[in-house]
Amino acid sequence: MKPKVCVLRSAGTNCDKETAAAFLLAGAEVESLHINNLVNGRRKLDQFHILALSGGFSYGDDVASGKLFANELKFKLNEELKKFINDGKLVIGICNGFQILVKSGFLPNSAELKQSTSLILNDSAKFEDRWAYLKPTGKSVWTRGIKEIIYLPVAHGEGKFVIADKEVLDKLKKNKQIVFKYCDPKGRSSNYPDNPNGSIENIAGISDTTGRILGMMPHPERHVFSAQHPRNWDRKGKKYGDGLQIFKNGVDFIKKNFKGEKI
């Protein structure tokens, strides 16, 4: 059985194709779907196992990054998405997708559905594209088996992770929801540019309380082959890049937990 992935896009989504390619490589079946098809009921989310919100500038990031897309999830697809999550399925939000999940409240706690964290303008006040070292620090279906530092590109203007109050942070820590932290090449806590945006506590990605919803600013889909690594000159290493494991984890989880189930 091949898990079915829905890469949901809107006007301005632009990493949908490579995200689809990464899931395909990980062994999934992928469909790229415009959100209008869900909003107008022509298609249903329950036809899929994994919902992927990819990078880009949904609706131009007008008002704030991910905000309009987040409101569509919150006000138009709320019930459908809640059911999807309660069914034990998976959601991943990368870059703009992370912004969407945070602003719609599906992260950090999809049961509460309240926005308690945000991703705002980088401290440098501009879009930046650079590679970042990430230290795995939490627990999530999506990050199983990732023990070492991984290396992925970031490319965003609004990626600074902030919280409503300290209580939110305490909970994130307690539940091991902080899954990735920016670090230096040796895994030590660091400042700009290792932390490219000024995120508090170097937070680069979080999961929800169930561990089945992941949001992260760095782009795992841009490092699924080692040829994409900026210093792969000797080509002696492995064939696949650090990001692939995340997609594989999603696919493996579905294969294991939805064995034989027909959609």
């Binding site: 896009r9 006007a11 301005g12 632009n14 990493c15 194709k17 490579e18 390619a21 990464a22 395909l24 490589l25 415009h34 209008n36 098809n37 990078g55 880009g56 500038f57 609706y59 131009g60 990031d61 007008d62 008002v63 905000k67 309009l68 409101n71 006000f75 138009k76 602003k103 926005q115 308690s116 964290t117 945000s118 705002i120 303008l121 980088n122 401290d123 006040a125 501009k126 879009f127 930046e128 594209d129 650079r130 590679w131 590109p153 490319a155 600074k160 902030v162 919280i163 409503a164 000024g198 782009h219 889909e221 841009r222 040829a227 994409q228 900026p230 210093r231 000159w233 000797d234 080509r235």
Partner: protein, 964 residues
């Protein structure tokens, strides 16, 4: 009812936007600003209850975690005492890109009664400032009066919803009764930029059909015949004379310069992999069994001079549409951007009235390009930025896009009976007269006279169009497509219907707001529009695709078969022209061109023992220094295909040569993109400048492991006023340089572009830009796993210098340090170069090359430094081992000459023999090695140390100038 809403960061949240403005103010030399606070303002009009407004603020306009909001009733005075408040809003009629999104967001909340949304930006500046300083801050930093204004709270009425409607009134222009003076008066009053010959020709045409033209007809002809659309200079006759030139071209009468040089090479080389050249919106070459690649580079200079963000933004937006409008539509896969500005440290008091300071221009242009390219999801993989004072009034903004297109979708054909369908953005008053405006010189008045030529882009609109067009293309729903670029519908429909004729109902074109005349609709250059020709049977299917993703599509007419261009506005015929006259009626002109070989003073720089200081200065030259501040703002990884990135090295901060991109997820075939540009050589001889540009673009391809097997190039000439004989003379020489070099290297041109009249006149004196040629090269690479990067990899490895250095310092950056130009500029020695290129490619293919970097700006010295500091390794090198043809035998000449076709190559010791065997027919020297210690040591021709420093110092010198 109107509600004004202000959104501001919560206390404790770092106001990055305000901090950025604070920095920029201090850059202006204004001290005393303590803090700038940024506030986003929304003004909602409509029949709204207070509860609804609160809901909108809570759920849409503010971020609960990071922002606070407040709702101001109609005319509440501002209470921020003791601070300076500047609020900036868009002018009426200028598209506010955020408006549509906010309206959608409000509707998503279930609130229907909002009529309009306006946005504004408010800056609260604390600190002691004089009114003059405040004016400087707002004029130079915060707004551009062409598109924005400072809000005066007492009289804000920017609502385009209430613009007066348009009352139809057909305007005829009395051409038949006009004298020659009258004709010229008509041309200048209408901003037609047509000369007397052309006006007479038009008059003759209308005399024969016994009536006067309508304003629309005259305008259509002016657009079609503009330099921008017709390329009169390149396609006309030229009377060329030269003096003391080497090589001699000889005095000659050139009939069509384009066909005599650029297109001639392509025809003569006749490459089987050239699919479509000089016909479509971009040139097309073969990629693999199923796909082709298209490539085009455009310029958007004049608009960027006036409004850098908008100009560059729509420049890149336009060239992306060239890809989308190639064949039946290509998917854009990469962008490339090259700019020329005046130096960022240009004195403020030298900035001419009507011009912007180069630093502001640069920041705006970079932001404009980044905004559009990033939002379209197209990686910007390659580029260059160069500086010269003469770009102060006329910056150059080159934007390029390559796309991938299925083989069977690479051609188009409009058929009679097809519907004319316009897709994408609505039409407004933005960008009126862009095509004709760019066919004249800029003056200090341009900013007021031509302000309508400035456009604002909306990348998300274009992204939606792209997403849907590719779906429609794959279902074969349309027969032809082109983009609305310069000239708007007039040139898009005019081109598509050139052979068969078209009928358009202008009142059916969707408008942004009321009040546009039929003519404005016809020539508006509003962005993000494509025109399709659609067989009537497919129209419903096609419309459904667009509707499903909220893209506007409208049938506005049909292609007819009458070979006439017929335009209607509410049943009134407003234009009825013979297509043949429109496209072929332009009178053949003969322009005079003179080239007199310039003679500059021969520099006499005393020989020095230690060249460390010179190398450090060169690394800090604005042309050479790191452009990382710029490049990081571009997404170069999106689409996941970036292999050789713009920055490489142990810290990802060394300057790459060409880029390598893998466009398909399931294939290791790649595309190499590179550029050659060096206007400094043109100060001495544009012929050799052109040859050097081609050499530079090609050697960059070799540097990343590519070959010359399948390389196509584009020409892009930015010149001064071609009606002046000296400007045209240098253009002719450059064009012949292009021909000779492309022929020798066997690389065909597949497309090109020219931008003339890049002159700025002030008080009757006209300053042209340096004649600047950009050569962009694209190549197909069989296996991206063979690609090579430029940074030093391992200590102990050997460093070779390949290719001969000559005392060719004319136009070099070394001479520029001493404010000299010189005369002996680099030439290209084709047979030598071809051998070098082939051998290095063979070595790279065999995996013998660990790093390779070409020598260009700053010569061997700069190339060696870049290789070393990018790799974090030291380097020792003996100049005595470098192939050097010279009578001077000077260390500085050898280190800083910018001779063509040279490389620095890193080779593992174990491959020494094998590498040297492959290179046996070339000039190369095993000149040095890499060291773990970070010393950078060069031993002179006499064997003594002539340059001694540390790579950290070199890197710092290179990174410091543009670390903003």
């Amino acid at each position: 009812m109107q509600y004004k809403i202000e959104v501001v960061d919560k206390p404790g949240i770092f106001d990055a936007c305000g901090a950025g403005v604070t920095r920029d103010i201090s850059d202006l030399g204004i001290k005393g600003v303590k803090k700038v606070r940024f506030i986003q303002v929304y003004t909602l009009s409509g029949n709204l209850a207070e509860g609804q407004v609160i809901n909108i603020c809570e759920e849409l306009l503010s971020d609960k975690v990071a922002q606070d909001y407040r709702i101001l009733s109609n005319q509440e005075p501002d209470s921020s005492k003791g601070n300076h408040i500047i609020e900036i809003a868009y002018n009426p009629g200028v598209m506010d890109p955020v408006e549509a999104s906010v309206l959608k967001g409000i509707q998503d909340l279930g609130i229907k009664d909002v009529e309009s949304v306006k946005t504004a930006k408010k800056y609260i500046i604390s600190g002691k400032l004089s009114p003059a300083q405040l004016k400087t801050i707002s004029d130079k930093l915060l707004y551009n009066k062409l598109i924005q204004h400072i809000v005066n709270p007492r009289d804000e009425n920017g609502d385009t919803k209430h613009l007066p409607g348009y009352v139809f009134n057909l305007i005829n222009v009395d051409l038949l009764g006009a004298s020659d003076d009258g004709l010229l008066e008509i041309s200048s009053r209408g901003q037609l930029f047509l000369n007397l010959n052309e006006m007479r020709q038009i008059k003759d045409y209308f005399r024969k059909i016994k009536r006067n033209p309508t304003d629309c007809e005259l305008e259509t002809i002016a657009q079609t015949w503009s330099e921008h659309c017709y390329h009169k200079t390149f396609r006309g006759n030229i009377d060329y004379k030269e003096q003391k030139a080497d090589p001699e071209l000889g005095d000659k009468r050139i009939k069509n310069l384009l066909k005599s040089t650029i297109m001639k090479v392509t025809r003569e080389l006749d490459k089987s992999w050239c699919v479509s050249v000089f016909k479509d919106n971009s040139g097309v070459i073969k990629f693999d069994a199923k796909n082709n690649i298209c490539f085009k580079v455009e310029t958007h200079n004049h608009p960027s001079a006036l409004e850098p963000f908008g100009g560059a933004n729509t420049g890149i937006g336009g060239v992306i549409r060239d890809s989308m409008g190639t064949g039946l539509g290509a998917k854009p896969i990469l962008n490339s951007d090259i700019f020329c500005f005046a130096p960022p440290d240009f004195p403020f008091n030298k900035v001419a009235t009507g011009s912007l300071h180069p630093k502001r221009v640069m920041k705006g242009v970079v932001r404009g390009v980044a905004d559009y390219g990033n939002k379209m999801g197209i990686p910007t993989v390659n580029g260059a930025i160069l500086f010269h004072e003469h770009f102060a009034g006329n910056p150059l903004v080159y934007c390029g896009t390559a796309g991938i297109i299925p083989k069977d979708k690479s051609f188009k054909k409009t058929n009679p009976g097809d519907l004319v369908v316009v897709v994408g953005g609505a039409t407004g008053r933005d960008g009126i007269h862009g095509a004709t405006f760019s066919s004249g010189e800029l003056t200090h008045e341009s900013e007021t006279v031509s302000s309508g030529a400035v456009q604002i882009g909306n990348p998300i609109e274009e992204k939606k169009v792209l997403d849907t067009i590719l779906q429609a293309r794959d279902l074969n729903l349309y027969s032809a497509i082109t983009d609305c670029g310069a000239g708007g519908l007039s040139s898009a429909v005019g081109e598509m219907g050139a052979e068969i004729g078209a009928k358009v109902y202008l009142d059916r074109v969707p408008l942004k707001y009321a009040g546009l005349s039929y003519m404005e609709i016809w020539i508006s250059e509003s962005q993000e529009r494509m025109v399709l020709s659609v067989p009537p049977k497919n129209i419903d299917k096609l419309t459904a695709i667009f509707e499903n993703e909220n893209v506007r599509s409208t049938v506005i007419g049909e292609f007819t078969g009458t070979k006439r261009l017929e335009l209607y506005y509410r049943d009134n015929l407003v234009c009825d022209l013979d297509m043949h006259f429109m496209h072929e009626g332009i009178p053949q002109i003969t322009k005079k061109a003179v080239y007199i070989q310039a003679k500059h003073r021969e520099p006499k720089i005393p020989a020095k023992k230690d060249l460390t200081a010179d190398l450090l200065k060169l690394l800090g030259h604005f042309d050479i220094c790191s452009k990382e501040w710029v490049v990081r703002q571009y997404d170069h990884e999106v689409q996941g295909g970036s292999i050789i990135k713009p920055f490489v090295g142990i810290k990802n901060d060394g300057p790459s040569d060409a880029s390598v991109t893998k466009p398909l997820h399931d294939s290791d075939k790649g595309i190499i993109l590179s550029n050659g540009i060096n206007f400094r050589f043109g100060f001495i001889d544009p012929y050799w400048m052109a040859a050097s540009c081609i050499d530079e673009a090609l050697r960059q391809i070799i540097s990343v492991g590519g070959s010359l097997k399948e390389v196509a190039i584009l020409d892009n000439f930015c010149w001064g006023n071609p009606d002046k004989a000296d400007r045209l003379g240098s253009l002719v020489r450059a064009a012949y340089g292009c021909y000779d070099a492309a022929k020798a290297y066997s690389v065909p041109f597949i497309s090109g572009k020219d931008s003339f009249y890049n002159e700025f006149s002030l008080h009757g004196r006209s300053t042209p830009i340096p004649g600047t040629l950009l050569i962009s090269a694209i190549s197909v690479m069989e296996d991206i796993n063979k690609s090579v990067s430029m940074y030093a990899k391992e200590s102990g490895d050997l460093i070779y210098v390949v290719g001969k250095t000559r005392d060719e310092l004319g136009g070099s950056h070394y001479y520029d340090l001493y404010k000299m130009i010189g005369n002996r500029l680099p030439r290209v020695y084709y047979s030598e170069a071809l051998k070098t290129f082939a051998a290095l490619n063979a070595a790279a293919e065999k995996g013998l090359v660990k790093a390779m970097h070409d020598c260009s700006d700053g010569g061997l010295g700069v190339a060696l430094a870049e290789v070393a500091f990018s790799g974090g390794l030291g380097l020792s090198l003996f100049l005595g081992e470098v192939p050097y043809i010279s009578t001077s035998r000077r260390n500085d000449n050898l280190l800083f000459s910018e001779s063509n076709s040279r490389f620095v190559v890193e080779v593992d010791k174990k491959y020494q023999k094998e590498f040297e065997k492959i290179l046996k027919n070339t000039s190369f020297g095993l000149a040095g090695c890499l060291t773990a210690k970070t010393d950078f040591k060069i031993y002179g021709l006499d064997g003594k140390i002539c340059l001694n420093t540390d790579i950290a110092k070199l890197k710092e010198a290179w990174q410091r100038p543009l670390r903003w």
